[in-house]
Subunit: 497 residues, 2 copies
């Protein structure tokens, strides 16, 4: 008779970061600045705008460049086919492949997976750029170019991190995987299915996921522990069969625009209070601890006021940015939107608005609340027109535990590189992939930003400072060392006869 006994032996591995090693790596980075900037220039020159299908060849080229770069460092690289993108006209075109890479397979080490993207938002000189958006331009130590901060430089900083070890012939303190996509700016089309498909393969040995697709809040380095989610709605009011001349028909039809304006006006009060029943009730209470924390965060109120006109106390401002929901009405499709005048009664108009999600809101519930509310408001108007409400995006908020060892490692690394305590911050925006990673892979996640607070993401004159790019690379190196020191539990299976 054989007895099979499963013995769990917790093996506590705590690799010591060698201060000498770190110094060498840091010096290496300082010596490679010109080369790093040159690579960023080459990457920014690729107009990898994922929202413009005519730029798709550039985007494919960008994914190839990324794969080549990772391969050149000896990584085990794959380009994962994630299928087709359906276009509004019914045609389909290939999605950009997702690039995965692996450096090291030592089971005694932690494995981190770096997430990033190399597609960009649209940009044209005539939008108001001071420089050519796809020609990286160095002005006073700032590197201006579309995608410089979002997210090409951070992806490169991680690649440079691996390169530094390889160049110095040093062993990576942890196994490093990469997952780089090319559809982030348009909703990460195809990525969730890929993550689900590879949950038990690529992600099986991953311990931690690191996302550097965000920025600091001030000049003080920061760790990000939360993002808001987003529920994006279309409210479509349809009336006559076609657009009508407002002179000929005005007064004899109940105009869809009047109805739409009427229902949009019931979403939010003049002071910004959300009027949809149930929304505010779902929000997690704001604790005294949070209040205290928000108070102490470094934030340039003067700069903010100058730009945005609403002089409110810092705590209120941060709370409304990070941990309260909000309604934004983005615009109306189908109505007259050009300059000049047009005397039209639009036949079908679609109001577009979104509600940022915070704990403990749930998109499915919000969808129900908004749809029911708008239909009830619309019904009271007794309009002959019809209303259709659809939620086209339902992204949950994400929140991490700042006491987790991943965050402790982040604090240590920042102290080593910048000699300051980081701010612990949240993002008002949505990084849906964080929540997807969490829900699908159940791995712990950290957001470790190196972008500046004034990088102008999605806006004109996006930039990455040389300082953040280079010191950010050093931070990533230091971070891998800190992560290596997190205790790792290994399970042995011993068969006893």
């Amino acid at each position: 008779m054989r007895v099979l006994v499963l013995v769990l032996v917790p093996l506590l591995l705590a690799a010591q970061a060698d201060a000498l090693d770190l110094e060498k790596l840091t010096r290496h980075v300082d010596g490679r600045v010109a080369s790093y900037v040159q690579t960023l220039r080459e990457w920014v020159a690729v107009e990898s705008d994922s929202s413009d299908v005519s730029k798709r060849p550039e985007l494919h080229h960008m994914m190839n460049l990324t794969a080549d770069k990772l391969r050149s460092l000896g990584g085990k690289v794959e380009m994962v086919d994630i299928g087709l993108q359906e276009l509004p006209d019914g045609k389909s075109i290939p999605l950009p492949k997702v690039v995965t890479a692996q450096f090291g397979e030592d089971p005694s080490k932690h494995t981190v997976c770096i997430y990033g993207h190399v597609d960009v938002q649209p940009a044209k000189k005539e939008d108001g750029w001071a420089t050519e958006p796809y020609n990286l331009t160095d002005i006073n130590g700032n590197l201006y170019g579309r995608g410089a901060s979002d997210n090409k430089a951070p992806v490169l900083a991680w690649i440079h991190t691996v390169e530094a070890y390889k160049a110095l012939d040093m062993e990576l303190p942890v196994n490093v995987k990469f997952l780089i996509e090319g559809m982030e700016e348009t909703g990460s089309n195809g990525l969730e299915a890929m993550i689900i498909a590879q949950r038990d393969t690529f992600f099986l040995d991953v311990d931690y996921i690191i996302i550097s697709d965000c920025g600091w809040l001030s000049r003080r380095p920061a760790l990000t522990y939360g993002t808001r989610g987003n529920c994006y709605f279309f409210a479509e009011v349809e009336g006559p069969k076609q657009d009508l001349h407002s002179g000929v028909y005005g007064g004899t039809v109940i105009e869809p625009m009047t109805d739409l304006i009427g229902i949009l006006d019931t979403l939010i009060s003049p002071s910004g209070k959300i009027l949809i029943p149930g929304i505010r009730e779902a929000v997690a209470p704001f604790s005294d601890e949070e209040w205290k924390m928000y108070q102490d965060i470094e934030f340039d109120m003067e700069n903010y006021k100058e730009k945005h006109l609403n002089p409110v106390p810092q705590v209120d401002l941060l709370a409304h940015r990070w941990r309260y929901p909000t309604v934004s009405i983005h615009g109306i499709e189908g109505a007259f939107s050009a300059s000049g005048s047009k005397t039209v009664i639009p036949a079908k108009v679609t109001g577009k608005f979104s509600i940022r999600q915070v704990p403990n809101m749930d998109p499915a519930t919000v969808k129900k609340q908004v749809t029911e509310y708008l239909h009830s408001v619309f019904a009271k108007r007794k309009s002959p027109n019809s209303l259709k409400v659809t939620m086209i995006i339902g992204a949950k908020p994400w929140l991490a535990d700042t006491q987790h060892s991943l965050y402790e490692a982040g604090k240590e690394a920042i102290k080593k590189v910048f000699q300051v305590e980081p701010d612990l911050i949240r993002e008002g925006g949505t990084i849906p992939v964080a929540r997807t990673f969490q829900d699908v892979t159940e791995k712990s996640i950290i957001m470790l930003p190196i972008g500046g607070f004034d990088d102008g993401l999605h806006s004109q004159n996006e930039k990455m400072s040389r300082y953040n790019y280079i010191e950010g690379t050093k931070l990533f190196i230091a971070y891998l060392h800190e992560v290596a020191q997190i205790k790792k539990v290994i399970y042995f299976c011993v068969i006893v006869r």
Copy 2:
């Protein structure tokens, strides 16, 4: 001593329309159908969109085509420079010249002036056109194309009228002048000044002004005796210095869109009642006579209901179309208006709406009422944003005397060509030039439409039926004969020694 005596000799001229002449002219028109359609095709092919300054060369070309056509018939043609158009960016571009022409100068005859325009509303296939808007397409006897009915075919029908006489070597029964402009669709920029400048020259010998820039109400031919005016407003709400990311900034700013939606929602009630104080009070009372007349007019309620959803009694419908004011919200400039989603907080948004004017409203008063009302509503919101209200068009309503001999002539001509009594109708839309002609030249005016009731002006799939185009040309010929029979009083000055 010389005695100067002024003797007024009323010379009653009543030219007899020669039935034989009319028949010949009618046959000529029937033989020219293919050529008339071809000319209309060539005119529709010119994208003479006056609202789009990038199309200005096409518009200039259209004015030249018009002048050439009139010249080819032997008219005394002038292209009147009416100056520059100031653009929102401060630059100026030349306005399209106004084309005037004269056929005949016989002082014993009446002189009519035909007004028309050859500019068009914007149109793109993707707006929902079944055919290419600038490629005239014949489907079941309907000629589809932008500007076909508004106003290129009617202008051509008048030109064909003159051409028929020339081709048959017949004398025109009246002197005919033309005044064709190229800015009608955007408010007849520069025209009023031109009319004022030429009041005592071009207009001096004009007896009557004929406008064919409108349509019938049903399949029954009609004469138009009134139009609504129009006050067109821009309400601009401005907040942050630039567009903001709604994730990063949402909740920390009072969004201009929220304010704009809020104030637009106070203009009109769900049932269509105008809420701006003072507007409804200014409207002339609806008489029993009018009620009776509206009741008897031919109007296809079934077709109307099918298209526009509001089943109301005919009299109410016509009253709301012709003689009551109305508010239409046309759209918002500066907000997101494309398909898909964008998470933007627009920094500056301009709501565009218009209020149709009826007797006894006065645009200057309406401007004051709207501006004060919107500012008072906005003030109650206590918004940090700013509001600017401007009235960019202020066109008065127009009303003619249907007992005037011009209208009697119209009734006769319609009876001759169509064998029916015309309906006497009003236009819900605005033809500001009618009011300008009346106020500046003090001439009598008639609106003599040939457009169909379902031509889709300003809308997708605008068309002119072959029937209306060709029979309309015959109507114009018959009308000139009827006008020639109006008694003309000639004053002689006799010097008696």
